[in-house]
């Protein structure tokens, strides 16, 4: 009998041990090395002080606080010469991740290549250069250009009773977004010959220049049907020129931008009609997430560029207008 009890006890003890192991095995979750505290991230935007980059920076800082890594912002203040210098200094500081906002497709591509070859992961945000890097977070400019062009064809093309005249107002003709949007838009317009592009003058991202260009073009083409501005901020000037000429009901003003509350105000005031918002607030969060992943060692298996395309929010004046589509700083 003693031998029987001992056997029972041993079985019980053994099963308890096995059970305990099983519980411990299930309870301890497996995770990657998230000890990225103390790592260094440097962000070089075209300029701070605009809602787009301030919105990104806010979200990126939130992610940095959660994990304990540092994010340092080097503000070029819209000065492209200063940007090259700031990027060179940032590379020499050897950060773990470098976030770059390219003013043109060409300007910083050599330095991005240099950074990548030195082992610094480069995240290009919203405006890409000709040089691919570790990752990209931003709007799909080809899609925006194509969708806006198709909307213009629908509103101003054959069968609409309008003149088919369109004025395009890029920021700078060599900026990534303008290059890609114009490529995509012109492809659509080629297929729809009734659309005529009467002006394609860059406004240097300035509302006042856009206003003057629009006032002049409206004067020469009073039957203008649509204006496609490549940034909602400088398109404010164009929209104001249209409103001042009393043509707010005749001319459709399209633009694309970060979609903050100023954009919604412009739609409410009748300055702009349709804005393709890439939601700068959401982009900031995507960028923050991407930085977290890059710091933890994420990379594409074949070395190609990781890409996160920003979902669109199309804000249209009229019945479908919804003020909650805009974010507030």
């Amino acid at each position: 009998m003693m031998y029987g009890i001992g056997k029972c006890l041993r079985t019980a003890a053994a099963s308890l041990l096995v059970g305990a192991c099983a519980v411990m095995g299930v309870g301890a979750p497996a995770h990657a090395d998230t000890n990225i505290a103390g790592k260094k991230v440097i962000f070089v935007p075209i300029s701070m002080g605009i809602s787009l980059t301030e919105g990104w920076a806010r979200r990126m800082r939130q992610h940095a606080e959660i994990y304990g890594y540092s994010i340092d912002i080097r503000d070029a203040g819209f000065n492209t010469g200063a940007m090259s210098e700031l990027l060179a200094k940032a590379i020499s500081d050897k950060p773990d991740v470098l976030v770059v906002h390219n003013p043109t497709v060409q300007l910083l591509s050599r330095q991005i290549k240099q950074a990548e070859s030195e082992g610094i992961k480069v995240l290009q945000i919203n405006l890409q250069s000709n040089q691919p890097s570790t990752a990209f977070v931003g709007a799909n400019w080809e899609r925006i250009g194509r969708e806006i062009a198709e909307d213009i064809v629908k509103e101003c093309g054959a069968g609409s009773g309008k003149s088919g005249k369109v004025a395009i107002i890029p920021g700078q003709l060599t900026a990534a977004d303008s290059v890609m949007m114009n490529d995509a838009a012109f492809k659509v317009f080629e297929a729809n010959k009734e659309i005529q592009v009467v002006s394609n003058q860059a406004s240097d991202w300035e509302p006042e220049k856009a206003r003057q260009i629009t006032a002049t073009v409206l004067q020469q083409h009073p039957d203008l049907c649509a204006i496609f501005g490549h940034w909602d901020v400088h398109t404010m000037g164009a929209g104001n020129a249209v409103k001042d000429a009393g043509k707010a009901d005749d001319v459709l003003v399209y633009s694309t931008g970060g979609g903050d509350d100023v954009a919604c105000k412009a739609i409410e005031d009748g300055i702009q009609d349709r804005i393709w918002s890439y939601d700068a607030d959401g982009q900031g969060r995507d960028a923050g997430t991407m930085i977290d992943l890059l710091l933890q060692g994420a990379a594409a298996a074949d070395g190609s560029m990781l890409s996160v395309e920003s979902p669109m929010k199309i804000i249209k004046a009229g019945d479908s207008y919804d003020a909650s589509m805009c974010w507030k700083m």
Partner: protein, 335 residues
């Protein structure tokens, strides 16, 4: 005596040559554009040209008065944006428009006084003093007042913005009316007021003006404060029309270059002493017509800047040829 008067008269005639050349060039451009471009020679286009050049004309008035007194105000554009910023922040902060305007005027008078003090009393060369104040004002407003923002957007629904950009009388917009008012004020200042007379004396021969007891310091104050006020009104007009107050106009833009170009092209030499409102009008007219024509012909902004630079070089060469320096006019420290 007769020979002296004759020589002076011929010099006057020579200095008017550049103005005549530029006026002729403007007329030639107008004829060429009317023939080449559809819709150039219409009343609507004239209205567009006037409205687009209102702020340039106002700035040119301020700069011309400064240049006539043998000074230079490189902080004019910074003052323009700073004035517009002050006004916009006050109005959007709930201050009634008339009070906000008064406060903006006071702020700009202060900036003008600071410039004048540096130049007249501390006796720093005008170019350096105004360059420094431009950087100081830009930095102060961008980082202290705007907290880092480089651009503020003004809603068109704001009544003051609507007033400043709207029509005074049907057919005459407020910006254009303000432009004519500024031209009138400049003409009155230069022709009928005491500071105006002293300005010409200072430009002609500063040391002689000072030694003969003319109030050069007070006139310097009047001149720089006047420039600051024209900059303020130009800024208000631009901000209301475009719906934005944009600091990049100061740091990245070529507006200062355009203003000096307009004044020099009109026939006011950088060493001062000669010129009037007519010169300002001629200079701005050439630039406005050129800009309008190039936009209608769809030239890129880079090409436009290049052509403007070419025009400036030709004007300076023509000026040098038509206004050769003799011992009387060749003064040391010429800009």
């Amino acid at each position: 005596m007769a020979e002296l008067t004759a020589r002076m008269a011929s010099r006057q005639a020579r200095s008017n040559m550049l103005e005549r050349v530029v006026a002729f060039a403007t007329v030639a451009l107008i004829v060429m554009f009317s023939l080449l471009i559809d819709g150039f020679a219409t009343l609507g286009n004239l209205r567009v040209i006037l409205s687009n050049s209102a702020s340039l004309m106002m700035l040119a008035c301020g700069m011309a008065v400064v240049i006539l007194s043998r000074g230079l105000d490189l902080s004019l554009i910074a003052q323009m944006i700073a004035g517009a910023t002050t006004f916009s922040i006050l109005v959007s902060g709930g201050v009634p428009a008339s009070l906000a305007l008064l406060l903006a005027v006071a702020a700009m008078v202060l900036v003008g006084l600071a410039n004048a003090w540096l130049i007249a009393y501390v006796e720093i060369p005008a170019m350096l003093a105004t360059l420094a104040s431009a950087m100081f004002v830009t930095g102060l407003f961008r980082f202290a007042v705007l907290q880092g923002q480089s651009l503020i957007l003004l809603p068109k629904s704001d009544p003051t913005v609507m007033l400043l950009a709207g029509d005074l009388v049907p057919g005459l917009s407020v910006p254009v009316a303000l432009m004519f008012a500024t031209l009138g004020a400049t003409w009155f200042l230069l022709r009928y007021s005491v500071p105006g007379r002293v300005v010409y004396a200072m430009g002609d021969n500063f040391q002689a003006a000072r030694l003969t007891g003319l109030q050069v310091r007070r006139t310097t104050i009047a001149v720089y404060v006047f420039a600051a006020l024209t900059a303020l009104f130009a800024g208000l007009v631009t901000a209301a029309q475009s719906g934005a107050v944009d600091f990049r106009t100061v740091t990245n833009g070529t507006l200062l270059f355009d203003v000096i170009l307009a004044v020099v092209l009109g026939g006011i030499p950088l060493r001062g002493g000669r010129g009037s409102v007519r010169n300002i009008i001629v200079g701005v007219a050439l630039i406005a017509v050129l800009r309008n024509g190039m936009t209608l012909m769809n030239f890129t902004t880079q090409t436009q800047d290049m052509l403007k630079g070419l025009v400036l070089i030709m004007a300076i060469v023509a000026d040098n040829y038509l206004n050769p320096r003799d011992t009387e006019t060749d003064t040391v420290g010429d800009l």
